[in-house]
Symmetry: C2
Subunit: 175 residues, 2 copies
């Protein structure tokens, strides 16, 4: 079985204590959950697993996954535990009221830089990008611009970048 690429810094045999660790989610702040949910469910096909409200601290969390056919628990508590167990979860934090004030979140791609993007892999990138155009999605980079012709970047409603790739076109990328 393939374990890990060798590289300066890489621990080749991870501590057995880490065996049950799961990379569960990525959290982004969103200004307006209604428009973010419309985008991630409507344009990208994600499902909303769970919304949690924290009234004293005036914020809500939303947990989304992209999945076609797995068994997601119907029971609310079980589904909430599932949302904290699974890989590939996207979490939104909505601080109440930001949808009505001048809050603008930072994409991480201008100074000060940090976070770069999310990425969705699609079966047919030309078809997907044509669909995004038809839906009026804003592009950061279209397929035919720049030097990398097989990737695109779209923007979510807060301006966060989302890379779009087609896996089987990228086997020869880089060196």
């Amino acid at each position: 079985m393939f374990n890990t690429e060798k590289q300066d810094g890489v621990v080749e045999n991870p501590d057995t204590e880490t065996q049950g660790y799961v990379f569960n989610h990525t959290m982004l702040r969103v200004k307006d959950p209604k428009r973010s949910l419309a985008f991630y469910t409507g344009v990208l096909g994600m499902r909303l697993l769970r919304r949690l409200d924290f009234a004293e601290m005036k914020f809500s969390l939303y947990f989304l996954v992209k999945t076609a056919d797995e068994n997601i628990p119907e029971d609310t508590k079980e589904r909430q535990i599932y949302a904290f167990s699974r890989e590939g979860v996207l979490e939104f934090t909505h601080n109440w009221g930001t949808e009505n004030d001048d809050t603008q979140y930072h994409s991480g791609n201008s100074e000060p830089k940090g976070f770069g993007h999310l990425c969705f892999s699609v079966p047919d990138i030309r078809k997907a990008c044509a669909r995004f155009e038809k839906l009026g999605v804003e592009f950061q980079k279209k397929l035919d611009s720049g030097s990398m012709k097989d990737i695109a970047f779209i923007k979510d409603p807060d301006g966060y970048w989302i890379e779009i790739v087609q896996a089987d076109l990228n086997g020869d990328m880089g060196r």
Copy 2:
């Protein structure tokens, strides 16, 4: 089968065109890949799937996953395609030279805010946090501080926050 929580904005029946879409990765810029790889493989038990170099543009990409036992392709090209197909991938971008200059990336948790954190789910959060302390990991929030006693936040070498949760403790979180 559970589909989606109902909520303003949520599209309940996603477009069939999105069926094959996968939430593939989250990208963070890192100052020094050696120290980031040491942290994510050594402390969190991730594996390095693939490093890609782009010499003309002077950057490298690193693709990591947290996995215990799945079949990862040995063949380099197949493994690269796999890295663009799978859920739950973490991508680092290293712009060559940042490890030797004064670059400091922005965590997203001070102004201007945006990205918040990654999250790892662990089987036993008290055991995991004791291990992190022993390894000298920096904490943003320890288990016994603040109002939420069942979650912790650690920091990666660039200062990005990583939430630590134990799924079965969080079934009653929020309302």
